[in-house]
Symmetry: C2
């Protein structure tokens, strides 16, 4: 008389997204391990360029993790010669984070591998379904973002 929880409808959706995320994340880890990157490190590299750079805090905000996490993650990437910190010309408190040539090469390689894996896995849905899914997810994301704003 106390089984695993009886799921509601919305709950089931949430559970689905959770499961899918776990599955995708697991796949991502396997792929990215080939270039020695964690999913979070990859996410950071994806957001960088070799020209203007980005501020650490901005990246942290996008990734919903605290500043210290970015600090240390960047320490690691910098130690591997993938990124470079430079002073922000407009604000002497801030740092701008740039991709090094080596970081750019590695990122491109990672993107190539990752995209292939993603392509294969998302190919489980046909194009029409992908399109549909995308519309729904975009709506959901927009709503959730607002919701987050509202709660801060």
């Amino acid at each position: 008389m106390s089984p695993p929880v009886a799921p509601s409808i919305a709950h089931e959706q949430h559970r689905l997204i959770h499961d899918i995320y776990v599955l995708l994340d697991d796949g991502d880890r396997r792929v990215l391990q080939k270039v020695n990157l964690s999913p979070l490190e990859f996410s950071v590299l994806q957001r960088l360029d070799t020209a203007q750079g980005r501020r650490l805090t901005d990246i942290g905000a996008e990734l919903l993790c605290v500043k210290s996490t970015i600090t240390r993650l960047v320490d690691r990437l910098e130690a591997h010669g993938l990124v470079r910190r430079t002073p922000d010309p407009d604000d002497r408190r801030a740092q701008r984070l740039l991709l090094t040539p080596r970081g750019l090469a590695l990122r491109d390689e990672a993107v190539r591998l990752h995209d292939a894996a993603v392509e294969r896995r998302m190919g489980l849905l046909d194009p029409a379904e992908q399109q549909q899914l995308r519309i729904l997810l975009e709506k959901l994301r927009a709503g959730l973002s607002e919701d987050l704003e509202a709660s801060n």
Copy 2:
């Protein structure tokens, strides 16, 4: 001449799911913090009952995390009096994990809070959209699960 990555179509989908997961997870953490549970702990409690119990390894497999993680997570839950280990009658290597009355009460409270939050957030889509989304996600999950099996 080296902007943040140029996204493919499938990649965009993947990114959407990732973003949504992060947003949902963030929301979950806030809610579950009220009952002092991490999302993973909550996931474990959700899978338990007060009668037959479940084996640690099975739970770990469902949650895609290694056994040692479950071991120590259960240590914590047990220290808080929420679960109880009992020997498995069929296999002397194994333990069966049960909810205690206190664990049951806390889980129900957590489910209540969590469901309300989920309901509110998934309510950002109307019922027809939710239905559509669910179908797509279920198909995707099934495919990804197979994919995972295949790679092991």
